[in-house]
Each structure stands twice: as C-alpha cells, then as structure tokens.
C-alpha cells in the first residue's frame, strides 16, 4: 500500500500539469479543481489494473479526456454553459492587450466547437499526439479522428478569420 502511494505521488508529480491542462482545454475552468481530483482518483483506482499494453501517458490522457467529456455531458444535461473564466487570464504576467485578446479568441474558438471536435483539435494541434494515439484515447477509429480533425480545423480557422486573425 505504501509503495503504491509512493508510486501514485510520483505519477501525480509527473502528470499533474498535463491532466490539468487537458481538462482545462476541453472542459474549461468550471469545477477544474474538482475534475482534476476526480481524474487522479480514477488514475489511482485503475493503477493496479493498468496493463503495460498502452503507454502510461496515453492512459492518463484517456482518463483526463473522459473526465472532461463526462463533465461536459453532465453540464449539458443541466444546461450549464462552458465557462473558460477569461478574467483569470488577465494581467498575471503583464501581458499586452493584443496577446490577451488572442488568448480570449483561442478559448472562444475552442468553445464554439463541439466536444468531439474540440477534443481531437486539442490533442492533435496543442498536444501534438499521433492519430493512432488520439484514436486510442478517444475510443474511435483513426478515420473518425481524421474526419473530426478536418472539420474542427475548418471551423476553427473560419472562426479565427472572422475575428480578424491573419493566418
């Protein structure tokens, strides 16, 4: 038990930022702390049954993505809005207005996508994971991932252009 906890602490230290970022990018900042805790509790519970067939990082991506998507579906049933909490981004590092504005645009653009399209865009364009790994994380075929990514790319690009971003 103690060695398991030590191993878990090590995993937390190594992947805490990754889990937090993935959940934030897919589900926004609402209940972020709760969702991160939920993800790590699931990681703890699944750690003993984790098989080395897939990489630990892939499995952790999958757990984080599922926690974020489950939360989105739950909020959708309760008619809660996706909240990225733009105020929390402001003036922490004295960023110029333009940069802050661009960050807002990115988050707004991600929020306009459906959860499936946002997930593949985040995993592919931000985390730069290969298609096969994204397919394993999301639990769909590679073809479906490519199709979703194609649509997400087009919709996100159009949103950016509409906001005056020069691509």
């Amino acid at each position: 038990m103690k060695s398991d906890l030590a191993h878990f602490r090590q995993i937390y230290g190594q992947y805490q930022q990754l889990v937090r970022t993935v959940i934030y990018q897919i589900a926004g900042s609402s209940h972020l702390d709760d969702l991160v805790q939920e993800a790590f509790i699931k990681i703890w519970k699944g750690l003993s049954g984790f098989k080395e067939q897939s990489q630990l990082s892939t499995w952790i991506y999958r757990v984080s993505t599922n926690v974020a998507l489950d939360a989105l579906r739950s909020w959708s049933r309760r008619k809660e809005n996706l909240d990225y909490d733009f105020d929390s981004l402001q003036d922490k590092r004295k960023t110029p207005d333009e940069e802050f504005s661009n960050r807002q645009i990115v988050q707004q653009g991600l929020a306009t996508l459906s959860e499936e399209h946002r997930t593949v865009l985040v995993l592919s364009f931000i985390h730069e994971l290969p298609m096969a790994e994204i397919a394993e994380i999301v639990g769909v075929s590679e073809g479906t991932v490519k199709s979703r990514l194609h649509y997400a790319k087009g919709a996100f690009g159009t949103f950016l252009k509409e906001r005056g971003v020069k691509l």
Binding site: S29, L32, F40, R103, K153, G154, G157
Partner: protein
C-alpha cells in the same frame, strides 16, 4: 492544391495556438493531500468473517430466552392497588357430620391379628 491549403491552414492554426494558448489556473499546493485524503480509506472497524454468524446466534439466544422467561404483568397506572374481593367458600374441604362416623367409638376396631383370623376363617 487543396491539400497544400489544408496543410498551410493547419500550420497557421498550430502556430497561432502555440503563441496564444492560455494556461489553466495553477493548482493549490495541497491538492495532492486532498486527493490522498479521498483515496485513503478512513480507519474503520474490520468485520471478521465470524462476526455476523455470532451476532445472529446471539440474537436467536436472546429470543429463545425471552420465550422462557415468564411474562411480566404490567403495573397498573394508578399507585393504589385495589385488591379484588375474594369470596372463599369455607365449607369446601370441611368434614360433614356423617364423616365423623368413621371415628365412632362404637364401630369395632379390629386389631391386626383379629383381622387376619377373620379373613382366614372366611
């Protein structure tokens, strides 16, 4: 041509995202402790395998004993105890006058030897 445009768009979006990706608010320093508190079960009484049968047997024993114990008559609400009037027929069990004939002095009282002789003579 379309693929080229697609790749170009992809590269531009990736570049824009990398420059402008907002980072999540940082975690509280005690987040790992909060998680560990939720993970580690609180120390609780471990039920041994024999605990449930023992409790069941004890329950049965108490039930059986309750059947053996005479039932308690509930005390009356009033503190004044009213004794019911008991009418005793005092003639029951008393000897009648005729019964005294058994002890009549005139009745022959035979000694054992005489009894024997009489019976032997019959």
């Amino acid at each position: 041509m379309t693929d080229f445009k697609d790749d170009e768009l992809e590269a531009s979006i990736k570049s824009f995202l990398k420059k402008n990706l907002p980072s999540p608010p940082s975690a509280s320093p005690d987040e790992i402790d909060i998680i560990l508190r939720k993970i580690e079960p609180a120390p609780k009484l471990q039920l041994k395998w024999f605990a449930i049968p023992t409790v069941a047997l004890a329950g049965l024993l108490v039930f059986w004993m309750s059947l053996q114990t005479p039932k308690m008559v509930p005390a009356p609400l009033s503190t004044t105890i009213v004794q019911p009037e008991v009418i005793v027929d005092q003639t029951v069990g008393m000897l009648d006058e005729d019964d005294f004939d058994l002890f009549d002095e005139e009745s022959p009282t035979l000694e054992i030897g005489e009894d024997y002789l009489i019976l032997a003579g019959l």
